[in-house]
């Protein structure tokens, strides 16, 4: 597990960010829990970089535990997806949280990312992408 190392374990009194790395049906799974903002985004970026470093990676990013996401977090996620796709990989997002989805919609990124309602759906999307 990668954890945010912020003062007092929290970002200015808000919920600290932890990032769990796991696997779902053979695909790497990234599970951030807490608030992703300018203070904590580095923790998520580090986890994504760690998974993308070895080469083409197809991974699931589960945002169901994210209480808050700002444009710096969106930037990190978008950059990681771009990096993955450049090397033949992909990043598929799991999210049903209205506030987070709204941010994707405002920025038009809902048309760029595969955003799934469950991990099973995300795995199916990655498998379909792999087959095509």
């Amino acid at each position: 597990m990668v954890s945010a190392d912020t003062q007092g374990g929290a970002s200015g009194g808000s919920q600290p960010l932890t990032v769990r790395l796991d696997e779902v049906d053979g695909y790497p799974l990234v599970v951030p829990v807490g608030e992703i903002d300018i203070a904590s985004v580095g923790v998520l970026q580090q986890a994504l970089d760690q998974l993308l470093e070895p080469g083409p990676t197809r991974l699931v990013l589960d945002l169901e535990g994210v209480q808050y996401l700002d444009s710096t977090g969106l930037g990190a996620i978008t950059a990681s997806r771009g990096r993955a796709r450049e090397e033949g990989g992909d990043v598929v997002v799991v999210c049903t949280r209205a506030r987070i989805l709204r941010l994707f919609a405002i920025t038009g990124l809902d048309r760029v990312f595969s955003i799934c309602a469950s991990r099973d759906e995300a795995v199916a999307a990655l498998a379909a992408g792999e087959a095509s």
Partner: protein, 153 residues
């Protein structure tokens, strides 16, 4: 709560403290009668504003200031850098809405990051006016102003 009022917040220019302003503004917005979505909109917008002025790197930044002024009709938020020699600096220069007028003075945020932050703010409040220094070292400060109508009772 009275119809008119003002709250001022001053923070050291540290990313870890943006969360403090977010929480403070959320509390204020709730007291001013905004519903859940309104509170969340303001919380996110003020954080984007703080991200921008925080990343508009400036050696002379002493603090980040957030001023919330409200009347019966609206809430206005001003987020800006306070420089060490606060009285000697010129007025900030406007960045065109919906895009980045940044030409290199913003040290840590790229043009795309700025454009996304502006896009988010414009979607969440009624008006977002972003001023970023055109060139570094001129004594200009970064400032973002946000306005959002208050809910009718």
């Amino acid at each position: 709560m009275t119809n008119d009022g003002e709250v001022q917040l001053s923070l050291p220019p540290q990313p870890e403290l943006v969360g403090v302003a977010r929480l403070t503004l959320a509390g204020l917005a709730s007291r001013l009668g905004y519903d859940y979505d309104g509170v969340e909109d303001l919380r996110t917008a003020v954080a984007e504003a703080l991200n921008l002025v925080l990343q508009a790197g400036h050696d002379a930044v002493l603090a980040l200031g957030v001023v919330a002024r409200w009347s019966a009709g609206e809430l206005e938020l001003t987020v800006r850098q306070h420089l060490r020699d606060g009285g000697a600096h010129r007025a900030p220069v406007a960045v065109p809405a919906g895009g980045s007028g940044n030409n290199g003075a913003v040290d840590d945020a790229g043009d795309d990051d700025i454009a996304v932050a502006v896009m988010v703010m414009e979607a969440l409040v009624d008006e977002a006016v972003v001023h970023l220094p055109q060139t570094s070292g001129t004594g200009e400060y970064a400032e973002v102003r946000l306005r959002k109508a208050r809910p009718s009772r």
